[in-house]
């Protein structure tokens, strides 16, 4: 392990009340992310595609390397030292996730391959066991495809109905419409916490309260929320919460399903095999309780350990500080981008996370993406796996800048200048 002082150390000192005055030491934070030193086409990388996947701090890379280099083995199986050490680290990460979400117990934390698998798990397992023809599932118009398609498949299989909460022109979740949709038939409300395409923060506390009044459960897609704000599943009173590791500065191939323990233990297994059974005979198999019931086969061990390190990192910097920093960058970018003639921001909800989708008159998003790439700027262009959102605004694609904890106002300037040049170039 590198012993030089890092942002995490400093943030830990700050949390401990040491004499630490710099409010948010962006340079220290940036130094933790090796890739930010990379040049692309001879220009410093300006990475503004955090909504698709975030970069990894050295602490995450080190934790994963350390696992592989010093104690790696399969988990939950071996009597040997490496297996015990790996199991401790793996289960330690589960505890970190539980604390991160303020879950009641780590038994409520299921490691999945990502948020997509987590939603599929709930739809197939809970939905398969509990939904009947005529039951209704409510989604919002802002959902990522991963929170649409699993429910559509369930609709085919079970004859359920899907209701879609509309959004207004600014991308606000239309709460009154939601309220009208709720009925005794509503069994599940599956909505995003923060829209990946628009940045809208959905008023989930009220969404959950009203759903519960009708006896419905609520699943929140927290992929775009957890990197930007503290999430407390107990305070929210949610039933299921999902997120992916790689958008939280952790590795890919690891995600989280949090669910209330009583719900999880009443759900049938999703996949089956080793590590999820209590006993197997050819006559009968009994299943373990959550979380192991839902973790068939060898899990993504090192990835879970990396996710634990990412949570430590984010926790040490502090989600409050991260949020304040990112909101500053978002505010700056929203104003600064107005300097680009013909630029229109898609999604101006009252409450937003640090995501800006935009279009520029006369220039297709794809051409913009290619152009700014040559200035070293990475933005996402396309429909962001949220085609219904694009359809809602009558556009094929947007460019999207999504800011993370390491982005700066100077980077917003680089983006803005590149866009102004693009406007001149494409005319």
């Amino acid at each position: 392990m590198n012993k030089e002082s890092t942002a995490v150390d400093l943030a830990q000192q700050a949390a401990a009340g040491d004499n630490f005055t710099a409010a948010y030491d962006i340079e220290r934070i940036r130094a933790d992310f090796p890739i930010l030193k990379q040049k692309v086409y001879g220009k410093p990388l300006v990475y503004l595609d955090n909504g698709a996947s975030a970069q990894k701090p050295r602490q995450v890379l080190d934790a994963m390397n350390e696992a592989y280099e010093t104690y790696y083995s399969n988990v939950h199986r071996g009597v040997h030292w490496t297996s015990q050490t790996s199991t401790e680290a793996f289960e330690g990460s589960r505890k970190k996730v539980a604390a991160f979400l303020n879950a009641v117990s780590e038994n409520e934390i299921i490691f999945t391959r990502g948020a997509t698998e987590a939603i599929n798990l709930v739809a197939a397992s809970w939905g398969g066991a509990n939904l009947n023809p005529g039951d209704e599932v409510i989604l919002s118009h802002m959902e990522h495809h991963s929170n649409i398609v699993p429910w559509q498949i369930l609709r085919q299989q079970k004859g359920i109905e899907l209701k879609i909460v509309p959004i207004d022109d600014d991308g606000n979740f239309l709460f009154d419409e939601y309220q009208k949709m709720l009925s005794e038939k509503t069994k599940m409300v599956a909505v995003t916490h923060v829209s990946n395409a628009l940045g809208t923060i959905v008023p989930v506390v009220d969404v959950i309260r009203l759903a519960h009044d009708k006896g419905a459960l609520v699943l929140l897609d927290g992929c775009q929320a957890v990197p930007h704000m503290a999430v407390d599943v107990q305070a929210l009173d949610a039933d299921f919460y999902v997120f992916s590791g790689h958008k939280l500065y952790g590795p890919t191939a690891i995600g989280v399903l949090w669910g209330r323990e009583d719900l999880l233990n009443a759900m049938p297994p999703y996949q089956s095999g080793g590590d999820m059974i209590s006993s197997v005979t050819f006559e009968k198999t009994t299943f373990k309780k959550s979380p192991h019931r839902f973790e068939a086969g060898t899990p993504a061990i090192t990835e879970a350990i990396g996710l634990g390190a990412a949570i430590d990192y984010v926790g040490a910097v502090g989600l409050g500080s991260i949020s304040a920093h990112e909101q500053g960058v978002l505010q700056y970018a929203s104003e600064r981008l107005q300097a680009v003639e013909g630029l229109r921001i898609i999604g101006q909800a009252r409450e937003k996370a640090s995501i800006i989708s935009f279009v520029i008159d006369g220039i297709h998003a794809h051409d913009l993406g290619t152009f700014v790439d040559r200035a070293g700027v990475a933005v996402r262009v396309g429909h962001h796996c949220a085609q219904p959102v694009m359809e809602r605004y009558g556009i094929a694609a947007t460019a999207r800048a999504s800011f993370g904890l390491y982005n700066t106002r100077e980077e917003v300037d680089v983006l803005t200048d590149a866009l102004i040049q693009a406007k001149e170039f494409f005319g």
Partner: protein, 156 residues
């Protein structure tokens, strides 16, 4: 930074992208096909009128897309007008190879007019931008589907 971008976005391409030619529906089309690129949401319809000699008497398109895909479609309509069905398919194959293979021997298309080959070369600047190859080939892929009688194609 502008130099490499200029190789991709040559003036002619920007012009076709902004003011596409033959950008209309063909009421009397004998074949048509829909093309879409799910990555970027580009959608095109290519219309063809084949005459009795199996020549492309008229070629047109409609839809939306980036500068590259619209320019490629527009230039394609001009290149293909008057060509036979088989010539059109050979040009597509040649163009596709130009966009994806290093050292493509242009003389393989030596029997075609120089203007057509120059335009294909210009569009094949996408070779340096691999993610954009599908933008340049979408219209051509769709054209081939139209002459082969497939109605819906996707670049995926």
């Amino acid at each position: 930074m502008f130099d490499e971008l200029r190789d991709l976005y040559q003036e002619v391409i920007l012009d076709h992208g902004k003011s596409p030619r033959n950008f209309r529906t063909l009421e009397n089309a004998t074949c048509l096909a829909h093309g879409n690129n799910p990555i970027c949401g580009d959608m095109l319809v290519v219309y063809l009128t084949l005459d009795d000699d199996r020549r492309l008497a008229d070629v047109a398109f409609q839809g939306q897309g980036c500068a590259i895909s619209v320019a490629s479609a527009s230039m394609m309509t001009e290149i293909l007008k008057g060509k036979t069905r088989d010539e059109a398919k050979r040009l597509y194959k040649g163009f596709h190879d130009m966009c994806t293979k290093d050292g493509f021997d242009v003389s393989e298309l030596g029997d075609f007019d120089e203007d057509a080959i120059d335009r294909l070369k210009m569009l094949s600047g996408v070779r340096e931008f691999p993610i954009r190859v599908k933008c340049a080939t979408l219209a051509w892929h769709t054209m081939q589907a139209a002459v082969d009688g497939e109605e819906n194609i996707s670049t995926e």
